[in-house]
């Protein structure tokens, strides 16, 4: 088995790299793939919190690198999905604790046992970014429809294009608010794609459910009714090579759609 190593990166912080990682990873695992997520944000780890696995971490990636444990021992299994594993970052160390070669070696080892290796990249373009990208052959660039995030995504894409190992990169547009786009207060999806001239892999609507899901440690893809969850599941399907049309967010978030959804839920409950 040769797994695909996908790095999820953005340049700018706070655009939803870790959320994207947790949700795509969970969605891929739900579809029956063996998935491992690597948190490379040493010193500022979050992925474990989003998955609700903080209390299970015994060994981290630094312990693996410094040979205090075997790689297999450091993989924390998800609470619900046995196909999903996490290799956590160390919280008490910094980015220099792991080198590019070491990360590449870990990715190469994991490739043998997993279908997908998702690498959660820290913000910035320094050592942490270089480490995260080292083992990857594909990239997902997360951005939001804001000028600063798009500018940073552009910088990141430039850096990714310069890396020979990265064979392809896709764009994921996060926190889209259709009503703001409609009133011309937010850059449209088309605008962002045009500026970055990159292929889209997903459009995720802004969803308050993300906040609760983050605090609960429960990825939103597990919520079948959530629009953001559906959007993330579609991203996972596209990663697996399926052709899935993009959700028309404007229609899906319109008042009519909400009323329809409300009634369909009501009918569903009565059954």
């Amino acid at each position: 088995m040769t797994g695909r190593v996908i790095v999820i990166t953005s340049g700018k912080g706070g655009v939803g790299k870790t959320t994207t990682n947790a949700n795509i990873g969970t969605a891929l695992a739900r579809a029956g793939n063996k998935v491992v997520m690597i948190d490379t944000d040493l010193g500022l780890r979050n992925l474990d919190l989003l998955l609700g696995l903080e209390n299970r971490i015994v060994y981290t990636i630094v312990d693996v690198v410094e040979e205090r444990c075997k790689l297999k021992q450091a993989l924390v299994k998800d609470k619900k999905n046995p196909n999903l594993c996490l290799l956590a970052a160390a919280q008490t160390r910094d980015k220099t604790a792991v080198t590019e070669e070491q990360l590449k070696e870990i990715c190469d080892k994991l490739k043998k046992d997993f279908d997908f290796i998702l690498v959660d990249c820290p913000a910035g373009i320094e050592q942490g970014f270089q480490n995260a990208v080292a083992g990857a052959t594909e990239a997902i660039v997360v951005t939001t429809p804001e000028m600063s995030a798009v500018r940073d995504a552009d910088r990141i894409i430039g850096l990714l294009e310069a890396k020979e190992e990265i064979k392809s990169y896709k764009l994921l547009l996060n926190r889209v608010r259709p009503n703001l786009i409609k009133s011309n207060d937010m850059m449209s999806v088309e605008d962002v794609v045009e500026i970055l001239s990159a292929e889209l892999i997903g459009i995720i609507p802004e969803d308050t459910g993300i906040i609760t899901s983050t605090n609960k440690g429960e990825p939103i893809v597990n919520d079948e009714k959530s629009l953001a969850g559906t959007a993330y599941r579609n991203v996972a399907k596209r990663i697996m090579g399926e052709e899935v049309p993009f959700i028309d967010l404007e229609e899906a978030t319109s008042v009519v759609a909400k009323v329809k959804k409300f009634f369909s839920n009501l009918i569903g409950k009565e059954k």
Partner: protein
């Protein structure tokens, strides 16, 4: 590679090694470390078959590294025969847990699934009764450490136990008056007292006791050199993970909240080991 600690040496766990070359490689790697010189080495071999000649070279390798081969354990009959022929002692490793003096708590955690719980194999929320919260506990295994009952290694006598219980009193104490934040790590060869909170994402490691005048929300490890009689006290115990000596526990998922609300009324809590588990109780219940 895991090393379990025993009194005058240590156990080298080689159950993962399937070939003779792997055994030799692992031994040479571990014995190369300066702390393993002049020690009693006990080898925990798995199913690997070692002939008489191979075992002789393993023994020679250990001696070359200025250590002595204590005894071995193995599941292979070939290795067993070679060891008998060479006069090397054979042992089955046994785990021994000293029971402390207190009365048993009303409910005990289901430890049989503890390992699975840790790694998410099967979800079983820890039983929680009214005031005592009991954590699921990782049983003694190769990951943590082992105590061995063997002739070479003296059993813990009553005096030793008393010494361990009073150890904290004789140790120096590190006194910290600030909040320990995420990513900070404090370790000491003595006791640690923190006046302030210990936030999630931080860790405190002490050879003796740990006392926190605030909310303990990070990782705490008391008795870090293997003293199971060390204690951890805090105004509110909400650690992600807790370790006392060689015993390990994690926060149950049923109360898996990263932060605890501050309150003006705290009942101080204390964590200690009991029959190989970690138990938390309110301190006023002691009297």
């Amino acid at each position: 590679m895991d090393k379990g600690y025993i009194e005058n040496g240590f156990i080298v766990d080689l159950t993962g090694a399937k070939k003779t070359s792997e055994v030799i490689y692992e031994i040479s790697r571990i014995l190369d470390m300066p702390e393993s010189k002049q020690k009693h080495i006990c080898l925990k071999l798995g199913s690997v078959d070692l002939t008489q000649a191979e075992l002789t070279s393993v023994k020679a390798l250990v001696e070359l590294m200025e250590s002595r081969l204590g005894f071995i354990s193995t599941s292979s009959t070939v290795t067993l025969e070679s060891a008998t022929a060479l006069g090397i002692k054979i042992s089955e490793f046994t785990t021994k847990v000293e029971a402390p003096d207190f009365e048993a708590p009303e409910s005990t955690p289901d430890v049989s699934n503890a390992l699975d719980n840790i790694f998410g194999e099967e979800q079983k929320p820890a039983p929680i009764n009214d005031e005592k919260e009991i954590f699921p506990v990782l049983q003694h295994d190769e990951i943590i450490a082992e105590q061995v009952t063997e002739q070479e290694i003296k059993e813990q006598s009553d005096e030793d136990i008393a010494a361990l219980k009073n150890e904290a009193e004789n140790l120096p104490t590190l006194y910290i008056r600030k909040t320990i934040r995420s990513g900070q790590s404090i370790s000491s060869d003595g006791n640690i007292i923190v006046i302030g909170d210990v936030n999630p994402g931080s860790e405190i490691i002490a050879k003796g006791d740990i006392t926190v005048w605030g909310i303990l929300g990070g990782i705490a490890h008391a008795g870090s050199d293997g003293n199971n009689y060390a204690r951890i006290r805090a105004l509110k115990l909400n650690p992600v993970q807790i370790r006392i000596g060689e015993v390990f526990a994690r926060r149950p998922d049923t109360i898996n909240l990263p932060y605890i609300q501050k309150s003006s009324e705290y009942i101080p809590e204390e964590a200690f080991t009991h029959k190989g588990s970690i138990v938390i109780r309110k301190i006023h219940e002691e009297n």
